[in-house]
């Protein structure tokens, strides 16, 4: 078995650097169910952190905590050093978010949805700029002025990406963003993430897709039952090792062929 270069980084080691996303000893319970157990996680500018894990592992709970949708039982969460629990609205100025099943207003066009969400977020753009964002997100030009009621899931997702791009934030939170995208679009999305990473955006992405994670991430964390079991620097682990570690952590049995 290949020797794994596993770097179990404690958050305390990373706090000396400037971090955009910080979760410090975060616990979250729903009644008796512990959704997150002592989660420590940091993402710095120019990093793409992929959270891998099965359903119910705590990935979406982590993102919801960062968005301020829910509050932790204990621990501290901050975005760009702004405490999310204390200043949720202020922290949202620095982040953009793409949920798994993005639904927008079906009786508005792609441009209108983009303009609306950018507008209420405090950013105002002209028609050309709006079209550029949609173009960058990979939406075909003929769909720009069509109502979203006729859009596929992948097309809606691209509008969501355009909304995130338009927000031009320092932090990007993604919850299964490539679900529903075709392989080409998925690949384009990966390229887009790399571009944003190079621009210094800190990206946290929850995903099931190990291959996409290996392709785009700088760091990967594997979660199970609310705990962050392992953290890797992506360039120090091969895809095969990542896959086998993941399956091992998840207690999955591979099929003998």
């Amino acid at each position: 078995m290949e020797m794994l270069h596993i770097h179990c980084m404690k958050l305390s080691c990373a706090t000396s650097f400037y971090t955009m996303i910080t979760l410090d000893n975060v616990n979250k319970s729903y009644g008796d169910f512990k959704a997150l157990k002592n989660l420590n996680l940091t993402v710095k500018p120019g990093e793409i952190y992929c959270l891998l894990g099965a359903n119910g592992a705590g990935k979406t709970t982590t993102i919801n905590l960062l968005l301020g949708f829910i509050t932790p039982n204990t621990g501290t969460i901050s975005i760009n050093n702004i405490n999310v629990q204390k200043s949720a609205l202020k922290s949202k100025q620095y982040l953009a978010y793409i949920p798994e099943n993005l639904m927008l207003y079906p009786n508005l066009t792609a441009v209108e949805n983009l303009n609306y969400f950018s507008g209420i977020g405090g950013k105002s753009f002209g028609k050309k700029a709006l079209e550029t964002f949609l173009d960058d997100a990979g939406l075909q030009r003929e769909a720009f002025h069509k109502r979203l009621s006729k859009f596929s899931k992948g097309m809606r997702q691209k509008v969501g990406i355009a909304i995130a791009l338009a927000k031009d934030t320092k932090v990007l939170l993604l919850d299964e963003p490539t679900s529903g995208l075709d392989p080409k679009a998925s690949n384009e999305f990966g390229q887009l993430l790399k571009h944003l990473k190079n621009k210094g955006v800190a990206i946290l992405m929850a995903t099931h897709d190990i291959f996409r994670a290996k392709d785009v991430a700088t760091h990967i964390g594997i979660m199970k039952e609310g705990e962050l079991k392992y953290e890797f620097e992506t360039d120090k682990i091969s895809l095969a090792a990542l896959e086998s570690t993941y399956l091992k952590i998840m207690d999955y049995k591979t099929l003998e062929v």
Partner: protein
């Protein structure tokens, strides 16, 4: 945020055809309600006009007979109908005491289908007063005619509920909420803006629709500006109250079905339940005396007075020496005895009628005090005031009619006891009646309703930090 909400809320409402459907619906319902109201007003005018016509015909005949008598002709009229007898004029040719509908009466039937809007007081007893004691349940009229007031008080809140029950829940159920909530905006403030915008759009539709319908019905809005704005003020304040309720319900973050259910429950509470309970408690605290007993008492008092008419007449003449003449050629007739006894009958009847009216007034005062528990009751009262069909208006008319009746009787008494024949010249000087409309102001209703609505908005905005919709955001 407001600019974008304003633009895209309008686009969404137009594209989902809400505004079009709402405009057509309101136009149809308001038109039908105004048509109904106009029909009732027209019927009332026709009734008054028909009575006036009959009185005019009878007056013309009477004046012709009087003229013949004055010229010394023999006339074939019974002694009881001779117009030279002042009591014939006082009894058979009364003035019409009317409460004519005014230009805005069509907006609310109010108490007009319960009370009489014209009476013909004669020198005989004030039996017409019974026409003013029909009502035993002041709020039963809440379930009355399909007029503009009915549409505003009952149907408009339902339209507002349909228009504003799913402001945040739609976003959650459609999946747009998470993206929305990730923006640096307060969701409560966002809901507030959306509802205020919907309130503005609905107000514009209501004002335009009413303007068109009123203009189409011959009302010159520019001449009737004060009444029109007072009416619009009441309607807008009432709508804002319902939008504020919708705001409080929406920010709790329940699903659309629960929101709708809670709002319908509040509609039942404020529009049906509270008025009914207040009315029932009013009936229990101040039960109305039996109207049958009152009528029986009146009859018995009159019968007793009739038996003692000679004695009463002597007493009356002792009290009024100016009428006690020593002329043996003159007879003391039925009318002398009747009018002498009338004062005593009135005196004896006063406690009976006033007891009935007092209880009614107590009930009404009770309702007035508690009316604010249900804004719909308050708004209905305000619209009745605008239409001139409120209990206060009919009370005002009743007092005017009673005062005129007294004036009418007093005018004929000197003719009777001085045995002065009635002439055409005297006819020109008999009292006439002109209804004096009571002035109402709806400013208190408008002001207090706006204040309540603003208070509800403020409570919602301040309390929003602890609301549980944040929890519900995680439910996908």
């Amino acid at each position: 945020m407001f600019k974008y909400n304003f633009i895209y809320e309008f686009k969404r409402l137009i594209r989902s055809q809400w505004i079009q459907v709402l405009s057509i619906l309101l136009f149809a319902v308001f038109s039908f309600a105004v048509f109904n109201g106009q029909q009732k007003t027209q019927k009332r005018l026709e009734e008054i006009s028909s009575v006036k016509e009959k009185l005019k015909t009878s007056e013309a005949q009477m004046l012709s007979v009087l003229d013949s008598i004055e010229q010394g002709f023999q006339v074939s009229v019974s002694r009881w109908r001779l117009p030279s007898n002042p009591m014939t004029i006082g009894n058979k040719h009364p003035r019409l005491v009317e409460m004519p509908p005014h230009q805005w009466t069509f907006i609310s039937t109010g108490q007009s289908d319960m009370y009489s809007h014209y009476v013909k007081p004669t020198v005989q007893a004030n039996d017409f007063e019974l026409s003013f004691t029909e009502m035993t349940s002041p709020t039963q009229l809440l379930f009355g005619s399909f007029d503009l007031t009915f549409v505003i008080v009952y149907l408009l809140p339902l339209i507002i509920i349909a228009f504003g029950f799913n402001i945040l829940s739609y976003e959650r159920e459609s999946g747009a909420l998470k993206l929305l909530a990730s923006q640096p905006v307060s969701l409560t403030f966002w809901v507030f803006q959306k509802l205020v915008l919907r309130f503005l759009w609905l107000s514009v539709i209501v004002i335009l629709t009413l303007y068109l319908i009123f203009s189409g019905n011959g009302i010159n809005i520019f001449k009737e500006m004060a009444t029109f704005f007072s009416l619009i003020g009441v309607i807008c304040a009432y709508m804002l109250f319902w939008f504020a309720l919708a705001f409080l319900v929406n920010i709790f973050g329940m699903n659309s079905a629960k929101n709708a259910l809670v709002l319908i429950g509040l509609w039942i509470l404020f529009v049906l339940l509270v008025p009914t309970v207040i009315n029932q408690v009013g009936n229990t605290l101040y039960p109305m005396p039996s109207r049958t007993i009152m009528v029986n008492k009146m009859r018995s008092i009159k019968a007793n007075a009739t038996k003692k008419q000679d004695e009463i007449l002597d007493n009356y003449l002792r009290d009024h020496p100016e009428f006690a003449i020593n002329d043996s050629t003159q007879n003391r007739t039925f009318w002398h005895r009747y009018m002498a006894s009338q004062a005593l009958i009135d005196k004896a009847l006063k406690p009976v009628v006033s007891n009935y009216n007092k209880q009614l007034r107590k009930q009404q005062n009770w309702l007035d005090k508690l009316k604010w528990l249900s804004p719909s009751m308050r708004v209905k009262a305000a619209l009745n005031n605008t239409a001139g069909t409120s209990t206060t208006d009919y009370e005002n008319f009743r007092n005017q009619a009673l005062a005129f009746s007294e004036q009418w009787r007093k005018h004929f008494i000197p003719f009777l006891y001085n045995n002065t024949p009635f002439s055409s010249k005297d006819y020109e000087h008999i009292p006439t009646y002109q209804y004096r409309q009571k002035a109402h102001s709806n400013m208190a209703t408008i002001g207090i309703l706006f204040a309540i609505a603003l208070l509800m908005f403020a409570i919602g905005l301040l309390a929003s930090k602890n609301l549980k919709y944040k929890m519900n955001l995680t439910i996908s």
